[in-house]
């Protein structure tokens, strides 16, 4: 049992290693040009060689992403509570939000650059714009799907809408919120990097564009991998928080029911 469990725990490592091995083998076997697809060994060599620019720019991307994401969390929760509170606001705002979310953020970046200039502000705002929507929708859904019978129980006790929100609505939104945070943080990286690619002085996106124009494909891929690592780490951090803060949501799925 113990052994089986550890095999399961190590599965992510096996799969990742296997992916890189197949990648490497394919590159060598089919003699793929480095300029088309660099082999993992070349990418790792580039990572070692350019470790300082990669680290420096990763740090810029990380902080712009986190800043944008933090704004998205604050505004997302606030708007989610407002939208989940009232059916009228929900109906009125929903089409607007869908429309807003359907606009490709790539198309918005040039506008942001015009407004705020080249730099970190457009990256922060793009990260915010792209990760904002899932948070609002999930918080609002969590609030709007409170069991009507439970609401009746509380209303028959004389509970106000605010009471129901505090005692039931907000706690039960926890699992929805954490689900949204995990999706949102990975999206925030996408937003920040898209913005850096279009116009920035720093960040992994900027580094990749420069490396690309110098035909340094291994460095471009090294940038991609450092982004992937950051995304996985942030996701994992939120997953750990989720496990700790809304543990009941995981265990109650095994509930006796009824």
């Amino acid at each position: 049992m113990m052994k089986k469990l550890s095999v399961e725990n190590l599965a992510p490592v096996y799969f990742t290693v296997a992916l890189f091995v197949i990648w490497e083998a394919a590159c060598r076997l089919f003699k793929i040009d480095t300029f088309i697809l660099p082999a993992p060994t070349e990418i790792f060599a580039a990572m070692v060689k350019y470790w300082w620019p990669l680290l420096k720019n990763s740090f810029v991307t990380l902080w712009t992403t986190m800043a944008g994401f933090a704004i998205a969390v604050v505004f997302g929760i606030a708007l989610g509570v407002v939208v989940g509170w009232s059916r009228t606001i929900y109906r009125g705002l929903y089409p607007v939000m869908i429309g807003f979310n359907s606009v490709p953020k790539v198309a918005v970046v040039p506008i942001l650059i015009m407004w705020f200039g080249i730099g970190e502000v457009p990256a922060i705002l793009t990260a915010f714009l792209i990760s904002f929507f899932p948070i609002v929708v999930n918080v609002a859904t969590g609030l709007a799907t409170t069991e009507p019978e439970l609401e009746d129980v509380l209303r028959a006790l004389g509970a106000s809408k605010l009471d129901i929100m505090r005692k039931v609505g907000i706690p039960r939104t926890g699992p929805y919120l954490f689900g949204a945070l995990k999706v949102g943080i990975t999206l925030a990286f996408v937003g920040a990097v898209v913005s850096e690619t279009i116009g920035a002085n720093a960040g992994v996106g900027h580094l990749m564009v420069q490396a690309g124009s110098n035909f340094q494909m291994p460095l471009v891929f090294a940038g991609l991998i450092s982004l992937a690592i950051q995304g996985i780490l942030m996701y994992a951090i939120f997953a750990v928080f989720e496990r700790r803060m809304v543990a009941w949501a995981f265990r109650s799925s095994q509930s006796a029911g009824g």
Partner: protein, 260 residues
């Protein structure tokens, strides 16, 4: 004393207005155990919401102790088919929820928390859940969850307990166990009960009075007094008079279903 006087409730449905109740008249004495039985979809649950003031009648009046019900009454405890306990709270915390909402407990909640905890523990002991106070709802069986739900509906000592098929999702043995739990709680505290159910044996075992509703639009078509002496034992269910009463109720419901 709960009085429904010629109450009609109509609400807009998808295919035009739906009349859930039509001219329903019902009296429940203070401290009485009343059961409402009827075919499914006869507006029994609507009746519950009317009495607790969660919805207002289209015409007619609902009054409790002589005062017309105009908004959610603040004296009622409710329990439903699903226990609806909050999964992030322990059983004890779930039971104490009403005390965080209902006055005068609410005002004193943080100050008298220890006393309230003792009160909740005492109630949990009555229903046999004393040892499970610190468990979470999802760690317990359906019957245990329903016991906790009953405690939650009684912790603030309501004058009125509204039960909407509270035992319908339980197996037969657990259900009979919980009948006895409810019987004992009622005999100890003396609150008024309105029990909505489609289990005729349940109604006959627990209630003083059984009201039979017709199919939609719902109306009380018959009211039967239950003659069995209290305290009742489960053995009463196997007496000839009991079986006879259940049979007659059964025929009455078959008749109103036919009419629909």
């Amino acid at each position: 004393m709960i009085v429904l006087d010629n109450v009609t409730l109509t609400y807009p449905g998808r295919t035009g207005p739906v009349t859930a109740l039509a001219g329903t008249t019902l009296n429940v004495r203070k401290g009485e155990f009343a059961a409402v039985v009827g075919p499914s979809g006869c507006g029994k649950s609507t009746l519950m919401k009317l009495v607790t003031g969660l919805i207002r009648p289209t015409s007619g009046t609902v009054s409790i102790d002589g005062a017309e019900v105009k908004g959610p009454v603040k004296v009622a405890g409710m329990a439903f088919q699903h226990a609806n306990l909050l999964p992030w709270r322990t059983v004890l915390q779930n039971v104490m929820l009403p005390l965080e909402i209902v006055e005068p407990y609410r005002r004193r909640f943080s100050r008298d928390k220890a006393a309230f905890q003792d009160k909740a523990m005492a109630l949990l002991n009555v229903v046999g859940l004393g040892a499970f106070a610190d468990r979470f709802p999802w760690e317990m069986s359906g019957g245990m969850q329903q016991r906790a739900s009953l405690c939650r509906s009684l912790i603030h000592q309501p004058a009125l307990l509204m039960l909407d098929e509270p035992f319908a999702a339980l197996d037969a043995f657990t259900r009979e166990e919980l009948w006895c739990v409810l019987r004992d709680l009622w005999q100890e505290f003396g609150f008024t009960v309105i029990l909505v159910t489609h289990d005729l044996r349940e109604a006959a075992f627990l209630a003083d009075t059984i009201h039979v509703m017709s199919a939609r639009p719902g109306r009380i078509v018959e009211t039967r007094q239950v003659p069995f002496l209290r305290p009742r034992d489960l053995d009463v269910c196997y007496r000839a008079e009991f079986t006879g009463l259940v049979h007659e109720l059964r025929n009455k419901i078959a008749e109103v279903r036919q009419a629909a």
